[in-house]
Symmetry: C2
Subunit: 604 residues, 2 copies
């Protein structure tokens, strides 16, 4: 229980010094979101989300499963086969939360839970509370058993715990489990893969944390093993599992969306740590195809309920959009890794798009209700026949509860995505009131973004040497300026000089509302417009338009859009009005009860 | 094995004399399709479909399951839990086929198979080759076990066999099984329902055949039992099973499409036999809502892969249309029953629409390959990740093989849908070269419909008394004429007089191509047009338009449509051309290999 030295590396992913890469994450405690939209959400996560998540793990019996496995209780494990992973995601959230705001009760809670997890571990390192009890053994049906998936989330939680709290209790569990995996799986051993990736990112992070090369090697093997018929040999249809085509040959994403993007994120980790530039380039190609052909305007990923899957290119229905909250999270993880590897602004654009739309829509303003599915349209007479149906409104938990604790861990580590460093430079990717220590400087960001486009960077402490501060100019920000001088959209604007304390940089991002068009191959949105302002996609919600049947609404192609700052509405927003219809940010819909909603409206 | 007296009533459904109703079916052998499109398909069913179906039942081990249950073989039953139903559907097809064209080998085949089925029956009448062997008992999980579903198909086959061949071998099996059901299920007995309806129509038909009132009473109980939480009590989500709302309260269809329309057909049978006008009226309301809000332009039913289900109103994607072939068949059965009950032309219109489009698309021109799913769009780079995916092209059989033998039984009994009688009148609903004996008259229909709109009705034998001949004028047939006089579309045109042999009536249906619009709430088809000629929906197929990427094609709203009679193409068709794009009848697509295809094209 004694903390090891707090190494304090970056939260979301921390490549080694020898990894391929352009940008480096900054330490998890080197950035803090101090106000605005994100601070509200982060604090709600602290005050309500994480505590209620802990309670839900008791109610849904996930924790009791560990008590049974540890011999503290008797009975059969409850819940889905991947129930353990919800506990591990919560532990990861609690760890990052401690780094952000050390709270001794939260630390005790996570260490107590860690101790229970440790006692549920088998002597040889294997750890799963459901599969052996329910299936009578280990790894009998790995494509569906999620045993590596659960192990991956445990490892991610352990890495977060040691980085954020200095305690290595869970790390020791993770190392024993990883050693067991290394001893069991791989070439010449058991040549099998889990149907649900996540072990890949986890093992690479554990390699980064421990230096044990075998973890990286096993992650690489898991990445390379896909696409060679292993899952088909189990009698499974390979597309669903990202197993139809080898990762390094795939030109797009397909199948189960969360599986696909988690796998891709892990493959980037493998590529950068092994110097595999061909693999990295292929993952950029896949990302590009996904963004171009298979992504909603909200950044939502996955258009099919059937198989929770990516559809064919341009198959993007609005009413039956699946756009699972977890898929947006995985999309952010993948984009973050490509951002570090390449330094391309487009990946930071993607992170912003997904964070503020496809991801954040999954969480209520109260911080304790969730969407699993993030549709872009709910008809007036939509029938809610499934707990995931958005017409139900957000729910407090799900039978398959992958999304809620996933949201918690991302919100608790959100500051990790704000900025990076490179030699002699600092990159600011996401704009929020914040403090950033990087490149030898201490910076304070003052802004009311995303409501207002003015972003003031105040140098509170300057390094001795000249420093380059790179400011992301989003692709939509035509007309942006730094200190009054125009800068190019879709890149980083560099301000380089010997800064002095008190220096300021003023970035101005134009937030004029835009009516955007979909690709003409997208049936459901053809001839329609979506309303976007800065990084925010807007939605027309029934509650704001009581005199209209939204199903029958349309707008003029050249309609004027009016803005209204509404400090008292939904935590304070800029509302928009077009053609007599009122719109709010998409991520805030369904916070006033279930309602009909549309993102795309036909042009009259 | 001695035939009972051949009672020869109508094929698809035969209400008793005391049933509510407007029209009466004519005997199964009182009509014959003698040429044209349908004759080609019926003969292909005889020569290829039914024989290959028999072979597939061997390959897929459905018949072996009966051998095991009869004690002729050892092993575990194979295939899905409803495997028996495929055998029964084939037996029904073989029976109707015998009525159409008595073939002694086919009779021997079906009686041999009947004998095997009889030997697989338990002493108390229970009959199922899969469930007891696989689940260790009967009726343990009726919502999923399909035990009543299989029983229903057996009963339907038995009724067909006795009507068409005079043999009552299978009828005796069906009576024992139905008596077992009556003894086991119902108020005060086991109050449970099968998740998949079909037993309802079957029991009413068995009542009609045997006069045993208990079968009708049990059918009525099964109809009324739904919507009262029985399936939910088993832990199932009720919408999927048409169990959320009682049948007599439901205002639309929802959930699994085939389940919903089979149930509705059975409920009509119950309503007409019990004189339940309120129930009948409610089923008309449901049909109307389905047709208006949940039906594709092809007559296809069911827009969701997830749950093979009806979607919300106007949720009708083209690429992911499910439109299961079996759902079209069920939709025809429901419409036929409403047609008999009400005499409204709209139901015969619906039968024609579904027969020539949503149903017939499910069958290859060769007669031995099938679509399970009937999409209205296949993108150029569509990925076929499921055997049901239309991008695969049609397949010879499916793991879930409900559709192929369902097609066989409908084609073998198709002549049953051509005409009806009422007091002193004959109704001709479907136009094809045919002979009809009804109302004391013998009529010969000469036509090249649906390619040509001229239909000549020749009176070969006239009754002594005056006769009314009612000719259906489809709703789309504005400008139709009978013997040169204009008649109203969407109704029956009556020609009433004392006919003499040799008299002729000439009906002219205008077949000018139309570019039709979808309801503006249908996202995927908004701003598009579909090309229709007479009853035929057309499709643009990649193979006919090699220089165009159909995904990017569009047409002018006022485009001229040109017609080309193509005697050598696809068995002889009228092809259409619009805006430089060539179209063929939708039901014939995918007969020249897999291809991209669209029914709806955007207006440029």
């Amino acid at each position: 229980m004694t903390p090891t030295s707090l190494r304090s590396p970056a939260a979301p992913a921390a490549p080694t010094a020898s990894a391929r890469g352009t940008l480096r994450p900054i330490p998890i405690d080197a950035a803090a979101v101090t106000g605005g939209l994100w601070r509200d959400r982060i604090e709600r996560n602290t005050a309500a989300g994480i505590p209620s998540g802990r309670a839900q793990l008791v109610t849904a019996q996930n924790i009791r499963n560990f008590e049974i496995a540890a011999g503290d209780a008797e009975g059969e494990p409850a819940g889905p086969v991947f129930a353990d992973s919800d506990v591990y995601k919560w532990l990861e959230a609690a760890a990052w939360e401690y780094a952000r705001r050390p709270d001794e009760q939260l630390l005790r809670d996570q260490l107590d839970l860690t101790a229970l997890v440790a006692r549920a571990q088998a002597d040889d390192g294997y750890l799963n509370t459901v599969v052996p009890a329910r299936q009578g053994g280990r790894y009998g049906e790995l494509p569906w058993s999620h045993e590596h998936y659960c192990a991956g989330h445990l490892i991610q939680a352990a890495v977060a715990q040691v980085r954020a709290t200095g305690h290595d209790d869970l790390l020791q569990v993770a190392i024993r489990l990883a050693d067991h995996l290394v001893a069991t799986f791989g070439p010449g051993k058991t040549e099998d893969v889990d149907g649900h990736p996540v072990i890949e990112t986890a093992l690479v992070e554990l390699f980064r944390e421990t230096g044990t090369r075998a973890y990286l090697d096993l992650a690489r093997w898991f990445v390379d093993a896909r696409g060679h018929g292993i899952l088909e040999a189990h009698g499974h249809q390979p597309t669903y599992f990202s197993d139809r085509v080898p990762v390094r040959e795939a030109t797009t994403v397909e199948g189960h969306a969360v599986r696909a993007v988690y796998l891709a994120a892990g493959a980037v980790d493998v590529a950068v740590e092994t110097g595999d530039d061909a693999l990295l380039a292929q993952l950029e190609r896949q990302y590009d195809a996904m963004q171009r052909e298979k992504q909603y305007v909200t950044g939502g990923l996955g258009s099919r309920w059937e198989g929770e899957a990516f559809g064919d290119p341009y198959e993007l229905p609005n009413d039956r959009a699946y756009a699972e909250t977890c898929a947006a999270i995985g999309g952010i993880q993948w984009a973050w890794r490509l951002l570090l590897a390449t330094g391309k602004a487009r990946y930071a654009d993607q992170i912003e798009l997904m964070l503020l739309n496809g991801f954040l829509a999954g969480l209520s303003l109260a911080g304790t209700e969730y969407f699993y599915v993030n549709a872009l349209q709910v008809r007036h007479d939509a029938h809610a026949d499934d707990e995931r149906t958005p017409a139900n409104g957000r729910l407090g938990w799900f039978d398959c509860a992958c999304c809620p604790p996933n949201i918690m861990r991302l919100l608790a580590s959100l500051q990790g995505y704000v900025a990076t460093e490179a030699d002699g430079s600092v990159q600011i990717h996401q704009y929020a009131p914040s403090r950033i220590s990087a490149g030898g400087a201490r910076l304070k960001i003052e802004t009311d973004y995303p409501w207002d486009g003015a972003v003031r960077i105040v140098v509170e402490e300057a390094p001795g040497a000249p420093l380059a501060i790179d400011l992301r100019i989003p692709e939509w920000a035509e007309g942006a300026a730094v200190d009054g001088a125009p800068v190019a959209a879709g890149s980083y604007a560099r301000v380089e000089r010997a800064f002095a304390a008190g220096d300021e940089i003023l970035l101005t991002l134009p937030l004029s509302p835009r009516l955007v068009e979909a690709h003409p191959r997208v049936d459901a949105s053809r001839g329609c417009r979506a309303l976007v302002r800065g990084p925010l996609v807007y939605a027309f919600e029934g509650v704001d338009n009581p005199d209209v049947v939204l199903d029958d609404a349309s707008i003029g192609a050249a309609s004027e859009v009016a803005e209204h700052r509404e400090p008292g509405l939904l935590g304070g927003i800029t509302a928009l009005e077009v053609g007599g219809l009122r719109a709010i940010p998409y991520h805030l819909w369904a916070n006033r009860g279930p309602s009909d909603m549309r993102v795309w409206l036909p042009v009259a």
